[in-house]
Symmetry: C2
Subunit: 215 residues, 2 copies
């Protein structure tokens, strides 16, 4: 027996629908964290009733979103191993940016009273990593020391969240903007931030257009 109890493999269309619902939830909740299940279902091209066939209730859906997102973010965060703290922050921000869509939901959901605790728990590894980086940066003098590490970590997180959720993600250099904001809050002068970014093209802050660095 392949499976000890229950659970024959679900049908193809069912799996597609389930994925579609999750995707629709991300898309819909990103712009409105209070969107109804009906809105999500319609966005997924599925009936509301079907949604309940895949998720027990609203919380189940949200929880799965949080779990999925958190896992991706944590994996990214734990892969960062630059010794240089500012660079680590920059890279972390840049990498997370690529998950923009997912990040937006998580960021939005994280603001929702009902799920703060759950999100906080799920993102613990990421937060630990940020705190570690910040602490290291304060130790070697590369980051500001006029703010306690714990608060600075929080400040950095909020700066990133702000840019992700409140600034136009489609703007020319959105990823770069996020990195600049984070580095600024972390204590670097803007010229230092610009220099750091210039020295590390592998940060891959895209992008097309020629809004060139310029200053």
């Amino acid at each position: 027996m392949s499976t000890p109890a229950a659970a024959r493999k679900p049908r193809r269309d069912a799996r597609e629908n389930r994925a579609g619902i999750l995707a629709a939830a991300i898309e819909t909740l990103a712009s409105d964290p209070h969107a109804s299940l009906d809105a999500i279902a319609r966005c997924a091209g599925v009936s509301r009733r079907t949604l309940y066939g895949h998720f027990a209730d609203r919380d189940s859906l949200i929880s799965e979103l949080i779990a999925n997102g958190a896992q991706r973010f944590n994996e990214i965060a734990l892969r960062i191993d630059d010794a240089d703290a500012p660079l680590a922050l920059a890279r972390l921000t840049a990498l997370l940016w690529h998950e923009a869509a997912a990040v937006q939901v998580s960021a939005a959901i994280a603001l929702d009273e009902a799920h703060v605790a759950e999100t906080a728990a799920a993102l613990a590894p990421l937060r630990g990593q940020v705190l570690a980086i910040v602490g290291r940066g304060q130790g070697d003098g590369s980051l500001r020391t006029d703010v306690p590490a714990a608060i600075l970590a929080r400040l950095v997180e909020e700066a990133a969240r702000s840019v992700v959720t409140r600034m136009d993600a489609a703007s020319p250099d959105a990823a770069g903007l996020a990195v600049r904001a984070v580095l600024g809050v972390a204590g670097l002068s803007w010229r230092e931030a610009v220099a750091l970014i210039a020295e590390h093209p592998e940060l891959d802050l895209e992008s097309a257009s020629g809004t060139e660095g310029t200053d």
Copy 2:
């Protein structure tokens, strides 16, 4: 006749209740922008029905909150006249901080889909002032120029909003934190920010502009 048409002066308890409702709305909505009128009424120690005696509907209440807040913020913003852009930003942030409670609601409400437009309109003068300061700072090289003025103004606003809404307003140096975050995002290194703050004790940060309160 003191009053030409209509409007006999309302009774005292009525005026008190009205004010109480507004205060309760600020307190309640600050923590949960989606709080029900019932919650607000209860917080004001008044029946839900009474609330409707003072405000036609939810929007009327919110609108008055926005109008009140915006007026105070705009007045403060337009009083700033420091030639030095970083200092102007610092002072603006510090002054607005004193309106913390009111700022929190406005900041929270401003995030609400239904009232963004209204808030944006009401805060136009403040935003104009920020843009002017930022432009000036870019012109004289005291603020970062790697980001267009319009976006930088936005970034500054979001940084301030973040700290106000998301960081513990009761923490030791919350006002200073806001100023530091704003200056950091605006391009100053943290040492420059610290120096600026140190040179201008009249910013009145650190400690206690009086919530010495207790209850």
